[in-house]
Amino acid sequence: MFVAAVLVMVDYFLKIPGTGPAVVQLQNWGIILTAFTLGFGAVNLFYLHTRHISRRTPGQWPFSIWILVMIVVTAVIGVATGATGKQYSWWYNSTYFALSATVYSSLGFYMTTGCYRALRARNVEAALLLVVGAIALLRNAPAIAVGVPIIIPMEAWLSAVPTTSAQRGIMIGAALGAIALGVRTMIGRETGFLGRLTEAERRGGT
């Protein structure tokens, strides 16, 4: 791991003949290995749900069978007829596409009640959030922005100044966090990635 990471970095920062092709090769390996991991989700589900089925977990095991059936059916159609074939495309659009689009959109309902019940001017911070949110909300409604044009420059300013600057501050902090995570992983102090816990974590961090 250390070698792979250092090689990729050296190739970027230094001009050393020979590293280029090696890194090209290495990156292709990365792609293939990642492709292998795409099956993990299915294996995890398989483990979990065979357990539900063998224990006849009330209210769950018939659905567990159904999940396994769906995994197999999808995989068979996709692998047999090709991932970009007509048949698989039909199956994808009937099931996965409709379901995933709907699942995430259903959160819109919760947001509506959240707006009604929770968006309150409790204190200065919440009031700021409320006011900025309300202005952006109105700007996002196209016809309102046309009818009340003053809202367009207001929203543009809110987006360009307070939002961008705060996000930038957060981004700088998060970038350092990502680098620190990388360092810890490379020197073997952050073994979470490798499916094993450090002693401290094993004890739950107390």
Binding site: L14, Y104, I170, I172, L176, G177, G204, G205
Partner: protein, 258 residues
Amino acid sequence: MLVSGRIFALGMLIALWIFIVGAMEMAKKKLPTFRKLSGLDALPEMVGRAAEMNRPIHYTTGLGELTGTVAPQLVAGLAVLGYVSELAAKYGVKVIYSVYQAQVMPIATELMKEAYMRAGKADAFNAEEQIRYLSGEQFAYATAVQGIAERERPAANIMIGPFYAESMMFSETFFRIGAIQLAGTARGYQIPFFAVVCDYLLIGEEIYAAGAYLSKDPVQCGSIQGQDIGKVIGWILMFVGVLATAAGSPIIINLLKT
């Protein structure tokens, strides 16, 4: 040999490496001190309120796995769980921990048991009742948590870890039942929902600091101190850079471009 335009970046990366590893070594000898985290300060009050009302506290750490990129967030959530359990044990308040990851169950059990022991209330701990594995599927887990909220009406709800789309469902449901809420996640897209609804907030990286501070783990504490040095450097570069630009000198900009 060096690629021009990337020299400063390389230097910065090496410097950060040294700061982070150095601070980790230092932390083994003496842990760094942390600034106040206002979210954590609210915990005794939340537990006290639950004790007064004689109702449980609900705790959850969101999705993700201990083997993925969000693992540090999960670990931070577990560290705070330990602290909350100890506080709650002292006040005789029941903590309900809703779990999404089966792999977390044994860790959480041990962690809470130890916390109850530290508080001298080892008998009060009932793992089966308090640590509930709900489901390994996002929306099944989310609906199950909402079910707990509706049935058991916890006085407080604490959510720290990697949260995804369920953040709004949780915060809205617990708000409706009148629970006092503390939430924290480093997943940028979800922070706004917590900010809108929850009473107390740990923003982004604050959860790592909270986890490190409570766990007293030298690797984590040191790593945070190393990052802090990086932030100070970044801060100074920006500050001096702004002044230099105002004075008409591109010195900092040119330095950063090398």
